[in-house]
Amino acid sequence: MITLLFGSASMAHGQSLDHLKAGLPDRVLTWTKGEEDRLYDERTIFDYIDGAAEVYRAYSMQRCLSRRYITPQGPAVVLDIFDMGSSEDAYGVFTHDQDGEKPNLGQGAYYRAGWLSLWKDRFFVSIYAERETQATRAALLELAATVASLIRTEGPKPRILSSLPVRGLQTEGIKYFHHHVVLNRHYYLTTENLLNLGKKTDAALASYLREAGAAQLLVIEYADGESAKGAYAAFLRHYLPDADSSGMALLENKKWCGVRLKEKRLAIVLEADPRDLAASLLDETMKGGMP
């Protein structure tokens, strides 16, 4: 399927946040290291990040190293390195916000409005300036390049991405996640955790554009077939009680929604127009490689 999404990545070999910290520069252009570095874990991260901290916890964040760089000439630059425990989860956090320019850094990076995000191996790196200037932009890019080079290895993307049909896939917008709360941030489906998402589930949400039309595809891999079957039944009962025999229904907004189950994999097509596109995506997803 989509081998283009996978590099010739090698697994991480235990490179730690402490190792990265030791290699961080004390100076970036005219910025110098400010107060002492701070370390946060999955509990204390709430003291540091308000609101969005839940995102990092939803991806099994291990630790976060925060360093502040200051300069008399301008705004501070804040570096946060998140050890996400696995490259899959580092990639997942990275996919949470995808917009802006794409500097060639790490295994993927974005720069927008004074914020640079990148991922490499098990690390998600965020660098932001408290105000954007030409100088902060240069500092962010230089610091990001340094951090990316300190991370010696690359890591694989989640295997579930290989189940996404290639044709028409909008690769820039793929989201990878585990939790209901993250799904709802990207696409509000239900207030309750109808699909029984959690730490043991892998999920990908992607957009498609084909000649025939557009759709979104949600693919979920459960730990076992029983969990998948339960989610399938709940979805049909609460969301698509009017589905036809092929698991499809035309919703109130005149878009098609459909659901399909195969072993541990559940596929849901959302916002599809026309119907045939929804059916094709479900068929192709179920033909994709099973983990």
Partner: protein
């Protein structure tokens, strides 16, 4: 027949009218407008003074106090603010001032001090009042409080679209993530918690340097705050939030020069009106009184 638990889904919003629900901006109810026509208006006072901030952006406490006093007497329809405060609290009250400590944009200490001073002047005992944010569940004053003053700055927020007065009570639950679903639409439920229900006497939305956009994990950049130099004061938190949200939305359109809806949509404001009946979100149900500086008022 056994009644099955109804799960609220996207389709409920679609059935109610997509444009008015999921994709709506602030202050637009997605249910029937019957309440809009019958509900009494909520008074909201927007007061601005460009001198409240010095050239370095520091707050001038004496100007802020004057703004608060003028807003209060106008809100309550009294000859002075002292009379207004005496209508809001009794000397026997135990008062919690629910503040907001987010370090990028906190409730100004000068405002917290001014509120405490006015409470003292109204007869509330010093040991029967406290200012707190994250410690409210452990704070002995908050544990026994009979009255709450709710104050915080308005800002864009990652989960809820906007950090609002309604959201400021999230520290009254031991499990804030329980309220994150669908852009925190059920924040109004916080106001039914026993520590909170029926206790709020006043809401002060700080719009001195509000934040209209956010990027990154910290959702903060000095590029996205501006000197609005205002306070929005009301007894109705929904009306105050809806008013603030209209200002934020107007600022976004002015700044980005294109339609840029607050994202995610802060529909917890309209839901607090229609589902939780906490106040009025619709502009036609809000009596907005504007005082002071009107340059760049955006509303």
């Amino acid at each position: 027949m056994k009644n099955e638990h109804h799960v609220i889904t996207r389709r409920d919003f679609l059935r109610a009218g997509t444009c008015a629900a999921v994709g709506s901006l602030i202050g637009v109810s997605f249910t029937t407008s019957a309440r809009a026509q019958s509900a009494p208006k909520s008074r909201v006072v927007l007061i601005r003074d460009k001198d409240v901030l010095d050239p370095s952006g520091n707050i001038r406490p004496e100007v802020l106090e004057k703004m608060l006093d003028q807003a209060l007497s106008t809100l309550m329809g009294t000859r002075d603010s002292a009379t207004a405060w005496k209508q809001l609290v009794k000397p026997s009250d135990v008062v919690g001032v629910k503040s907001n400590a987010w370090y990028h944009l906190r409730t100004p200490e000068a405002l917290e001090a001014a509120i405490q001073m006015r409470l003292l002047e109204a007869g509330v005992k010093e040991n029967k009042m406290a200012v707190d944010d994250r410690g409210v569940l452990r704070n002995p004053v908050f544990k026994q409080c009979t009255a709450l003053i709710n104050t915080r700055p308005m800002r864009t927020h990652y989960w809820s679209g906007l950090g609002t007065l309604l959201k400021n009570y999230i520290m009254f639950t031991p499990s804030p993530p329980d309220y994150h679903d669908n852009a925190c639409e059920n924040l109004g439920a916080l106001w039914q918690l026993p520590q909170v229900k029926g206790k709020t006497r006043l809401n002060i939305l700080v719009m001195l340097t509000p934040q209209f956009h956010g990027v990154g994990p910290h959702s903060f950049s000095l590029d996205y705050v501006w000197n609005y130099a205002g306070l929005v004061v009301s007894r109705d938190p929904v009306a105050a939030d809806a008013t603030g949200a209209r200002i934020i939305q107007a600022k976004r359109e002015d700044f980005f020069k294109s339609p840029k809806p607050i994202s995610p949509p802060p529909h917890h404001i309209s839901v607090a009106d229609t589902r939780f009946k906490l106040g009025n979100s619709r502009p036609e149900n809000i009596e907005l009184i504007k005082l002071g500086w009107d340059d760049g008022i955006l509303i």
